[in-house]
Symmetry: C2
Subunit: 584 residues, 2 copies
């Protein structure tokens, strides 16, 4: 049985940065070659980054991607790596699709290529296009219609891209029909809580359907609201796990696979689902089984809290650094939201790049100021205090505000203060809002919603508590100072915009609120179904009404790390003008 | 030849307001009956409003739409209108589609029904689903697979929904194969500049393909960023225009059509594109040709400036009233942007519902204050002045800002002031930004970008000038006071955030800027193509760099009336983190 040493480069990529992405491919290919690889793979749309969104419709970008691919092939050969086949995702256009009304202009394709001998030896495009959740691929791409099979060292390797494995039919059965010895899928599969388990089961099932060893190479890193969690997987034809890469970490997984030799009876022509087998024979000579067999390793998946926390850190780090910032600024209220955001920021960037500012008003409690200062002491972030009294008095003198207008004013004065410091000193402002308050509109537009990024935008308040406690425990387990003051965790949440205010004046208790929100927002359940699940009808009515009327605020919220199937962002689009009330 | 009196109800609808939308159908059906109609039609998704976006994925909303449809059928009969067939758009779900990974949950459909005799006599769903520009219909719907034909007074009427006419194949050739005597398409076709001409040519072409008289019923009104401009059209089988409804106006077009009698050889079964003919025979007896023949009228299309201005007025009016506001608030700088927005607001809502506030700083010129006051005098809007000096001094005392931070501070103090008045008095704040400054990021986030709606968000600065002049001329032609002070039109545009500042310090001249932007933003042309079109390379490079880096600001901009194929909103999605620079 021929042996193939496969190098799966689970790495990050930045949308639009063709030069840097190509450089990463070159660097990692060299590293893979040093480790003796026979076949090297990179994630979906590695060369352009993922998702490119409307850039797919700009022909100059499509052409730049194509040119970058050819240049990369030549460069690899020039650096002595031409004999090593490299599978890399990029953006292409269909050469055969005819212009058609309703089809994306220029017929762009989510493509991948096999680079070999200084040339582009084979290209293909994603067959199944996802157009749900965070995906809009019918909008941007036309589908591929081939079953690509590349022969490497005497083994036929069938190739696929991401959704090709998620949907039934297409390349998985076609890989079996084509009698492939290995199915290699390159992916940029966005993180969701618990998706690692789903993905593992999927790959196991598809390997059995394809009837061959299946390697699932994932991207890792972050792009705006999306996080890519890595967790690349290789399973054998019986669905048993052969190797698994760690989550949220760049990694070159190198492993030896003993695979069936190419079958001389393998068919040409059209196989399943209209897919036409497209073969490229790169090398026939099998590898001699020699030396120790590399296993690729088997990383343990993180536990649930560690996984979510890691996603938030990875998302924030990617956003800040990819946008060219070096430091962040956070308004510190002493409350749990801003404390957790600060802890995440310190883990993502280092405390020396995190700036906190306490902005007390006449309604701020002593413990708020103390807790904020204590957080700063524990984490080592830069800390200062600017009272908003003089600004507040200037507005009140001119306008004589009352009630909600007076409450919101304080929040907006803080937003303006943060932006002023951001403009003056160059920090990126973080918005501390969580998913619970965002869902029900319990925030001030242009106030606490100010910021370029909302790290916990997709985290319910009950999870904010759980993650804070987890982070503190993790520090203790490592003999470090827990970053978040105990008092920030235990005191009742309050916006402190009027005397004695607490969140429960306006909102249900968070455990109940979050349970209702999870059913309504994440699972699209109706009012009657939520009541049937055991919640008080009046409470459900009140909660759903708040959610139904908060769409405008959500539209103006900054992006933030996505960790659920349905947050508020590109996967949740509601009209602003909408008279439908789930509660009638 | 049988005669059919057709009533096309070109009206508005509000997303989610099932009760009010059903009430409008009832009212207009009664009106149509009073005028002797034999067949009554309403726009696409009339009952639910359009577009419903993620509400399509909520089964409680789908069920509510279905229930509302049945209730409407019963109600029409109860009110003595059961004998009149009514075609009405609504949201349904497929009874036959099997759950499939990647397909919208619950298999929702963009559907329409024929109501007759207190029952739902026939239903069908849109066959061609648009998923480009402002449309996401692959995300939300599964396609219909029938060719619905309803026999009314001895005439076979083929039915279609919007995109069914825009794309080749499907129901247009199927209507011919089914030997229909009339093709009736119900639509919610969003406005774009010059789209009326495209649409007219389309309907003429499709009528000839279908080989029968074709009626294209359009929606009118506004939904968030979309405006529906009406302009319903009826053409005969040779493509000659029979009737045309006015733009931006609710109208019941009633006309008599002499149509071929139903063909006894008309086929059953599957015709073109896999569409299965689905027939309902409601009434066989032809109408006696009796009394004067109603022509339906032939409205003249508006000229270009009047059309765009009407779209902006219609969009703003719909947004404000549908969101339950009665008044708007505008910061008046004396500049042309806020002046035009004020004029639009006065036309949309009446000057008594428009509140302007001048917020001078130390850098505000005398003419700015004078021009703002003059605008108020001319239009009659409510006007006040609140100087921002004290607030500015309070921030500067605490923070000692310089440069851009000091400039942006002034703009943000004004944003906070507007929101404070909005919260205190209940007005909806309008953002005055235009498309040129939005494109290049020449605005202050949380400053002049503050507002719930940006009426001229999709209007280039050169168009702002042209529309202002047009509006003044239109007033003069009617013997009214031109609303916009001449000085606001003629003086050089300035943000007045530092002494002597003018826009051309930072930006190219607007005619050149807008020409470059139109190529880059609206037509997706690359840098080389724009240079080849005759623009200086350095200027192109500088302009495109500004556009490439302003995405974050655009994400946080409020919605505004859409008048172009590609503005900034749901039809333009770029990653925030994006290193692609068109200019290399």
């Amino acid at each position: 049985m021929p042996r193939l040493r496969l190098a799966l480069n689970q790495i990050d990529s930045t949308v639009g940065d063709l030069d840097a992405n190509a450089e990463a491919v070159l660097r990692q290919t060299r590293h893979s070659a040093d480790r003796g690889a026979h076949l090297v793979a990179f994630p979906e749309m590695m060369l352009t980054g993922y998702p490119v969104e409307d850039l797919a419709l700009r022909s100059s970008f499509v052409e730049a991607s194509r040119a970058a691919l050819r240049a990369l092939a030549a460069r690899l050969a020039a650096e002595g790596l031409g004999g090593l086949p490299v599978v890399v995702g990029y953006l292409d256009r269909s050469a055969t699709a005819r212009p058609k009304y309703g089809q994306p202009a220029g017929a762009p394709q989510n493509a991948a290529a096999v680079l070999y001998g200084g040339e582009v030896a084979l290209t293909f495009a994603k067959h199944h296009l996802p157009n749900y959740g965070v995906f809009d691929e019918f909008r941007y791409f036309v589908p591929g219609d081939t079953m690509p099979v590349v022969r490497v060292r005497g083994v036929d390797v069938a190739l696929a891209i991401c959704e090709d494995l998620w949907q039934d039919g297409g390349r998985v059965p076609a890989a079996r029909s084509a009698r492939a010895g290995l199915l290699l899928s390159v992916n940029a599969s966005p993180y969701e809580r618990d998706k690692d388990d789903t993905r593992l089961e999927l790959v196991r099932k598809r390997a059995q359907e394809a009837g061959c060893t299946t390697a699932y190479l994932a991207m890792t890193g972050g792009q705006d609201e999306l996080v890519f969690d890595g967790d690349s997987i290789v399973v054998d034809r019986d669905g048993a796990v052969v190797a698994r890469a760690p989550q949220f970490t760049e990694e070159c997984v190198v492993l030896d696979l003993d695979l069936p030799a190419a079958d001389p009876r393998a068919p040409a022509g059209v196989v399943d689902d209209g897919l036409r087998v497209d073969r490229a024979v790169l090398s026939e000579e099998p590898v001699a089984e020699d030396g120790p067999r590399l296993s690729g390793g088997r990383a343990e998946p993180l536990d649930d809290d560690a996984e979510v926390y890691s996603a938030l850190v990875a998302g924030l780090r990617a956003y800040v650094t990819k946008n060219g910032f070096r430091s962040v600024l956070i308004g510190l209220s002493g409350g749990i939201d801003s404390s957790l955001v600060a802890a995440i920021a310190c883990d993502a960037l280092g405390a020396e790049h995190v700036h906190g500012v306490s902005m007390p008003s006449r309604y701020s409690s002593e413990h708020s100021k103390d807790d904020a200062a204590e957080l700063a002491r524990r984490t080592g972030l830069h800390y200062r205090t600017v009272a908003i009294g003089p600004m507040f008095d200037a507005y009140m003198g001119a306008l004589g505000l009352t009630g909600l207008a007076e409450e919101n004013l304080q929040s907006r004065l803080r937003g303006t203060l943060l932006m002023a410091l951001s403009n003056q000193e160059g920090h990126l402002v973080l918005a501390p809002g969580n998913k619970s308050e965002l869902a029900v509109g319990y925030s001030t537009l242009y106030g606490d919603s100010v910021g370029a990024y909302g790290p916990i935008k997709d985290v319910y308040k009950t999870s904010v508590f759980r993650l804070s406690e987890w982070r503190n425990r993790a520090a203790e387990a490592r003999g470090q100072t827990p970053p978040i003051p105990e008092n920030s965790i235990t005191k009742p949440p309050s916006a402190e915009l009027r005397p004695g205010q607490v969140d429960t004046d306006s909102l249900p208790d968070y455990p109940v609120l979050d349970a209702i929100l999870a059913l309504y927002v994440d699972r699209d359940r109706g009012a009657d179904e939520i009541v049937a699940a055991g919640y008080d009808r009046d409470l459900v009515t009140r909660t759903l009404r708040m959610v139904d009327t908060a769409e405008y605020k959500r539209r103006q919220y900054p992006p933030g790390t996505k960790i659920s199937a349905k947050g508020f962002g590109k996967d949740r689009r509601l009209p602003v003008t909408n008279r439908w009330r789930e509660t009638g």
